[in-house]
Symmetry: C2
Subunit: 297 residues, 2 copies
């Protein structure tokens, strides 16, 4: 990875990780629900790229906002993302025993603790935004409206429902898969970019452009994920490779083959880069967009 | 039940049920995530007393607010409560096959659909409040802050974590049980009353009194639940009786016996009624408080 991108990514990742610690640093030694906090922290602290917080911070910056203005939203999106990973890994869902190179939450704790840790990480984002001391009430409401609708039935949760049901379908085409991915992966990436704009007080036009950019990026991101599941190694990826094929999952690779899938990701990335021209100081976002397409992990 | 209470309760219940329908009436016939909406509606439409929305509406009224001002918060609390029922019933949690006289969500649908329907009903409340057209941004933020913290690790979800872990404990005393109940059941009852005050634009003093009242009511409510599990019938209760004993659960009845438990509920109810003296037009709330103590279902 380009060293400049790496250091900026690390700077943002450290910022969000410090804040995540702050929001979960309660002294619960004497409280009987301590296991719940432990399970939440276990999943939040697992190493990750923190892409969504990076997008929140960076869209806030390119729209002229301060980094602190984006702090609550950056934490909120990482919590909501972590909630979705915990619940998706449950035996009743994707039944994955590993996540980010470590045992999944329900393996490290119990299924009950994993369900509840996910539940709390689905709700805490709204508490954090509502209780933030920097943002105006109008900004908070706009953030919560966008975050909640992106997480919901027309967003991430709806996408996961489709993904679960697709397991028993044999008639999935590129359109179905694109719709599913735009919800399951795309919606949280979109709200990351849009929330960054909201934190900075950008106008609706900028937020709409951010949403369009994110739509392209999110889909390209998923296609690259599908490719890596076939071409990467467990060490590089931090999770088992070949799991899509093992689970007989329909992916962009099974539908299109690796070459066409990579071509689709290339095209989406070009379109995403073009939209970025509408933003000033976009050098990092351009590099990041290229980096996400060519990543090996 | 007193006919006046009954008709007021029914009026409020109809109001919240109409609004719940409105929020879930989307035409999803052609969308692949339709099962998720079906599972949500199935659980939301199950017959229930709708106590929490009634408290939202009524505290809004006694604080001088209009019924429409409380509509979003009343729906939000019922959704959040329904989310908790769906997840609590899961095999990994309390493993209950019946709820409100019908198969639990995960029995009527799948476990995956139940997890996701609960997830969506944990998040939709915040979307509904954020997108409400009547409330000011300041009121929305206050509602979301109170609702989210009441649902979280120091509230309902924390209480459920303790409840799950208590199953393997043999050293639970009245203090432990009271703490658990104040979180698991009490927190949502508290936020119902407090949100009613916020919707009406009441001051902090009134909201604090509402919270104190709710603390007493919530605990009394749980004690009566424990008593009914021993003394009621499946038909009256709409769920299996004797399930606490069957699961070897520590309850106020197992710790105190029926007579002392009833005495404790009586005392809490008296204290709750006294707090109600601080509110005008409190006739319905007084009747409701007495009714909840002497209920048979």
């Amino acid at each position: 990875m380009d060293n400049n991108i790496k250091s900026t990514m690390n700077m943002y990742a450290r910022a969000v990780e410090d804040n995540l610690k702050k929001y979960t640093q309660a002294n619960m030694e004497d409280l009987p629900q301590k296991t719940l906090l432990d399970a939440m922290k276990y999943s939040l602290e697992a190493p990750g790229k923190r892409i969504r917080p990076v997008l929140v911070y960076e869209f806030c910056r390119v729209c002229g906002g301060k980094q602190e203005d984006a702090a609550a939203a950056a934490c909120a999106i990482e919590m909501l993302h972590t909630f979705s990973l915990i619940h998706d890994d449950l035996p009743a869902m994707d039944d994955d025993d590993f996540r980010r190179g470590r045992p999944s939450c329900h393996k490290a704790f119990t299924q009950a603790a994993a369900v509840l840790a996910g539940d709390e990480l689905a709700i805490l984002p709204f508490q954090i935004i509502a209780q933030d001391e920097r943002l105006s009430s109008d900004k908070k409401v706009a953030l919560i409206a966008d975050l909640s609708s992106s997480a919901g039935i027309y967003g991430m949760i709806g996408g996961q429902m489709i993904d679960v049901e697709n397991e028993t379908r044999t008639d999935i085409d590129v359109d179905n898969l694109t719709y599913m991915c735009s919800l399951k992966t795309g919606a949280l990436i979109s709200t990351s970019c849009v929330m960054g704009c909201i934190c900075a007080g950008a106008d609706k036009k900028k937020a709409d452009l951010a949403r369009q950019y994110a739509g392209k990026l999110g889909l390209a991101f998923q296609i690259v994920d599908d490719i890596l599941d076939v071409t990467s190694t467990t060490e590089e990826l931090g999770k088992p490779v070949g799991s899509d094929e093992e689970q007989n999952k329909t992916t962009f690779v099974t539908l299109l083959g690796i070459e066409k899938a990579r071509h689709m990701a290339d095209r989406l990335t070009s379109e995403a880069l073009e939209i970025l021209n509408n933003f000033d100081n976009n050098e990092f976002l351009i590099k990041l967009t290229n980096e996400l397409l060519t990543r090996r992990y």
